[in-house]
Amino acid sequence: MKKSKLTRDGRQAIYGMLYILPSFLIIMVFCIISIALAAYFSFTNYNLYNAPEFVGLNNYVNVFKSGTFYAALTNTVKYVIVVVPLQTILALLLAVFIAEKMRNRYGSFLRSVIFIPFIVSSIAASAVWKVIFKTKGGILNVALGLFGIDEVNWLGAKTLAFVCVCIVTIWKNVGYYMVIYYAGVMGISLEQKEAAIVDGANAWQRFWRITLPSLKPITYMIITLGVISSFQIFDIVYQLTGGGPGTSTITLAYMVYTYAFSNQKLGYASAIAMVLLVIVLLIHWIQNAFFKEKE
């Protein structure tokens, strides 16, 4: 009896492995092995045409000597610091306000509308915003002109081009994070809120003492998602600014792409990619430690 049960479990385990196998192969080849290969190439001078030659730490030395790399690193970090808090706070405020004060058909309509930019492709979004940001006759400058504001060279000035990239990103992402927050706010128990109301807590106090603490796991997740996706920003930079003017909007991801596929310096680009990987893992580790400590 016992033996037959064992074989049954064994058979189930084999079925289980077979079910897992396809995804396992995909994740192994396209993620794990790929990372190992990227690490290997980062120590070579591979350029697509000649066999890779081992060059030790040369690529890394050159990366850390390169001014473009520091520009890309600074821009990426600045971008994360600007975009993640803004989109998180905006999404939180919108979700909480709509859930608390506009729980009606109009509120849910607005919620649906705010989500729409998320399904626009980054390339289409950038193509449209590029026209909106045009200095001569761009609709944004025309609108500002009505208030007597002079033409602004949005995509041509260094700081402003960076601001434009941030605007398009936030415009595109806020709705997505708002929907996640909204589901979270709806999950907060009514009893808790009612008890607070009975205790005489006003809306502001309820927000700080009940809503915000209950949403902590969601906030953690949204920040994680936001940081990871902000570190990878590529499409919008590629289409909206091309990294320019100068190197003012170039990012690490954009640098990996251009060095690998425009300049065929695959070894060098792999070194930048590895630096990007280390930074993302480091931030994740810090964030984990920070959130666990406050638990």
């Binding site: 897992i20 995804s23 995909i26 509308v113 026209v131 996640i180 969601i218 997740m221 690998a260």
Partner: protein, 274 residues
């Protein structure tokens, strides 16, 4: 709610106006895109009489500018990606959640960890692997990597709530294992599959950097690549570019309007419960 008294609050009204204003800012660029797509402008000074509401730009985009092929490629890739991702991820989720595989929790942690890896890190090796196996300029190169940890995670979350009795009943009836998966498990997780399908469709449809790298033959361009090229041309006919942008938006938008509930549920499933 305590006290149904609907007191008029200034903060509430002001907030509603702000939210309405924000929602307008969200759609304004898209409305502008659609209006511009009906003009033949080479300058940006748009006047009401320029908006012709004829489909000339859309006609040119699809039939003259080789966007037709790009549109077809995008549709094929998106549909195949959905089928492939649903199948691979549902199998994985079933295996991880309902089968006694030794070491499965550790392996699942590895799956989850891969979601953090920036796609640019694997971009170069992935390209070289595809070149090695002769998959450059193929649909397979765009479809196969689409099935990843996110789908496995999302479906497993949902499968946790599926009662084992249905599966056990089928096993007792002597139903062969592949049929249990196809006839019992897949229908039980259908709501999550719909959400995953929507997600996969939109991300395959909008995917840019990977098709840009791996499909360099003009015949294999997807829609975003074709749009990107058109937009980068110096002699820009704004109406034409906007029509292409609008055309790329139509299908995901129609899906969103038709299946809003599933969109939102899918986000909550992948997000909140995790």
């Amino acid at each position: 709610m305590v006290g149904k008294t609907k007191r008029f609050s200034l903060a509430g009204a002001g907030g509603s106006i702000l939210v309405t204003f924000f929602a307008l800012l969200c759609v304004a660029p898209l409305v502008y895109m659609v209006l511009m797509s009906f003009t033949q402008l080479r300058t940006l000074y748009i006047r009401l009489e320029d908006i012709t509401f004829n489909l000339q730009n859309y006609y040119i985009i699809i039939f003259k500018n080789s966007f037709g092929r790009a549109l077809l490629n995008s549709i094929i890739v998106a549909v195949l990606s959905c089928v492939w991702t649903d199948l691979v991820c549902a199998m994985a989720a079933y295996g991880f959640e309902k089968k006694p595989v030794p070491g499965k929790e550790k392996l699942f942690k590895v799956y989850l960890a891969t979601m953090m890896i920036p796609s640019q890190v694997t971009l170069i090796p992935l390209f070289l692997i595809m070149r090695q196996i002769g998959w450059l300029n193929s649909y397979a190169a765009l479809v196969v990597p689409m099935a990843g940890a996110f789908g496995c995670f999302m479906l497993r979350q949902f499968m946790k709530n599926v009662d084992d009795v249905f599966i056990e009943a089928a096993q007792i009836d002597g139903c062969p294992e592949p049929l249990i998966f196809l006839r019992v498990v897949l229908p039980l997780v259908q709501p999550a599959l719909i959400s995953l399908t929507i997600f996969t469709f939109v991300s395959a449809w909008n995917s840019f950097i990977w098709p840009l790298v791996v499909n360099t033959n003009t015949q294999m361009y997807t829609f975003p690549i074709a749009l990107s090229l058109l937009d980068s041309q110096h002699d820009t006919n704004y109406g034409l570019t906007m029509a292409a942008a609008a055309a790329s938006f139509v299908i995901p938008f129609a899906m969103y309007v038709g299946m809003q509930e599933q969109f939102v549920e899918g986000i909550a499933l992948g997000g909140v419960k995790g």
